[in-house]
Symmetry: C2
Subunit: 126 residues, 2 copies
DNA sequence: ACTTTGATTAACGAAACTGTTAAATAGCTA
DNA sequence: TAGCTATTTAACAGTTTCGTTAATCAAAGT
């Protein structure tokens, strides 16, 4: 587990940190789209939009296929899965019903325990 | 659903887009910690670390309590939950075994099937 | 009071991000 | 070939981010 993993997550989260880019991802859930079609719901110059797409592509969240003079953008959700998996490591810290021991104690009517006995996510940084 | 939600997500994802900050969150899963204790695994000047903590605090991912001359940092996972929920809207796009009916069956303990009735996430941008 | 310790703010510079307009590229179409 | 459309790249400016060192603030110990 080297630095690569860490930088990849940084790129994914960084790509998601912009409302315009998240809106693009939302739009792409409706199916592959040309850049021009994305421009309508995203009031922005073509070059600006193009750069957002490049950020999303570098993060692996979309792919682009050349099709005549169009570029067809397609959602690539694997990156989102990776992000979701990273965050899921923390689920026991916000979801009391997660963590099997907590669930057991809850069912048996006992109280929950403190943070320190919960499983910690792996550190993905060098 | 106004712009607020969107900006909050931007701050959360932006905070997660840095390996140092993710490492801090990992460390905080071990329990609340003073800033000084965070500095050991994070080779960085104190001011730099302090600013990372401020970013995490503004994103709502940590809280800081004053305790004598120390600031005790505590993981606040609600923000991670919000991020996870946003991403989870896309789950059907990476997980073929997931759709709303599958989710229902999963919750009710029944087996999962495969299906292509995918739902689109809500657009959280203005 | 004076010093030490823990942490933040101030000030600064380098690098990255975001948007713009103008120019370039590439593929259709006439 | 010329011209139109779709998209990207170049060049530029404003803002933000990230790190540094120096200075400041606040609490504790002596």
């Amino acid at each position: 587990m080297l630095n690569n993993n860490s930088d990849r997550l940084s790129e994914i989260f960084g790509a998601l940190a912009d409302p315009t880019r998240r809106a693009i991802l939302v739009q792409l859930t409706q199916g592959p789209t040309t850049v021009g079609a994305l421009q309508t719901p995203t009031p922005m110059s073509a070059p600006a939009l193009s750069r957002h797409l490049k950020v999303l592509e570098r993060a692996g969240l979309i792919s682009r296929e050349v099709e005549a003079q169009w570029r067809r953008c397609r959602l690539q959700a694997a990156g989102l899965r990776d992000a979701a998996e990273w965050i899921a490591e923390y689920r026991s810290f916000w979801d009391d019903k997660f963590d099997s021991l907590d669930a057991y104690l809850e069912e048996t009517g006992k109280d929950s325990r403190t943070n320190s006995t919960r499983g910690a996510p792996d550190n993905d940084t060098d």
